[in-house]
């Protein structure tokens, strides 16, 4: 159960990162600009770095390496998504899609808030049951 959840959370981040990385970063930059939250330099930096962080945390969760740190990372990432999308909804920014998965999957901001909140709860659950989360992982192999 915990192992499957870990793989699900890892896969979400992996797909999210890969979906953005397979397209030029300028496309994700355009998505970030729609949220009107960062200065120009911050938008460019985020567009270039953020998908790699998602991909790396996703891969680490999938293989179960540095699981405690990866879960913390995932928690921060999902928290950022909720805050960023939430502020856009509160400000009634005209967003048709959240842009979270590049061009692969289009989700409405409201749907993303629900999914990310659920992911936060699941990640907390995984952190609480860390010993079970580490089953069938590289961590358990090295431990």
């Amino acid at each position: 159960m915990y192992t499957i959840l870990r793989i699900v959370i890892g896969s979400i981040l992996l797909v999210s990162g890969l979906g953005k990385l397979l397209s030029p970063y300028q496309n994700f930059l355009y998505v970030i600009q729609a949220y009107q939250l960062l200065p120009s330099w911050g938008e460019v930096l985020t567009a270039q770095i953020f998908p790699w962080i998602e991909l790396i945390v996703g891969v680490f969760l999938l293989i179960g390496l540095w699981t405690w740190w990866s879960l913390r990372g995932a928690l921060i990432l999902f928290g950022i998504f909720v805050v960023v999308v939430g502020q856009a909804l509160l400000r009634r920014l005209p967003l048709e899609s959240c842009g979270c998965f590049g061009e692969w999957i289009h989700l409405k901001p409201q749907t993303v808030i629900v999914l990310d909140s659920l992911s936060i709860l699941l990640t907390i659950l995984l952190l609480r049951g860390l010993s079970q989360t580490k089953k069938f992982s590289l961590d358990s192999y090295f431990d």
Partner: protein
């Protein structure tokens, strides 16, 4: 070891994921400005996309300020899954280009986008615009029913997709890709501080 693998993954990924660049064709009818200009812009647009309309207005103002320093070329990227009139508006533009009236029609079509976008069929409006800019309506009708104009549009969209374009407006300024008007403005400020 893990850090090395990650660095290798990122560097390899950057190389593997690199996209080709948009080569400018100086013979195009949908171009304006000085072909020798130091700033060459290829503009991929959907005529029904509101952000594209904003971009066209932005570039028009910019071009009026720097007519000798900029060369602009328009290419089609109709988002037919989002905009019902994306293809027909592109077809009228392509047919106008074949009569040397692309920019004249563009000057009418873009500012009125909000009006014709709401119509079930914008063709009567487009025909009236074509007449207004002095297009030969017989030639226009032949062009609209021919496969040739549609092929040009679809080919340009396919090429755009291989360049990594997923949304409009997307620009290539001296081959460097920028998406959206904010990035366009930022990029142009580097050339014209």
């Amino acid at each position: 070891m893990i850090v090395l693998v990650l660095v290798g993954l990122i560097v390899g990924g950057k190389v593997f994921l690199a996209h080709p660049k948009a080569e400018i064709n100086l013979q195009e009818a949908r171009a304006k400005g000085n072909p020798q200009a130091r700033v060459k812009i290829v503009e991929y647009i959907d005529f029904q996309c509101p952000a594209c309309a904003y971009g066209v207005k932005f570039l028009k103002t910019f071009f009026d300020k720097h007519p000798n320093d900029v060369y602009i070329q328009v290419r089609y990227f109709p988002l037919t899954n989002m905009h019902h009139h994306a293809m027909i508006s592109a077809l009228y533009s392509e047919c106008a280009a074949r009569q040397g009236k692309f920019w004249a029609l563009d000057d009418l079509m873009i500012p009125q986008q909000q009006q014709w976008a709401q119509l079930i069929s914008p063709e009567p409006v487009f025909k009236a615009m074509a007449t207004q800019v002095g297009m030969d309506i017989g030639q226009l009708n032949n062009c609209l029913v021919s496969d040739d104009a549609r092929k040009v549009i679809n080919n340009e969209k396919s090429v755009g997709q291989t360049l990594g374009i997923v949304s409009t407006p997307t620009y290539f300024i001296n081959n460097k890709m920028v998406v959206g008007v904010k990035s366009l403005d930022d990029a142009l400020k580097a050339y014209f501080p």
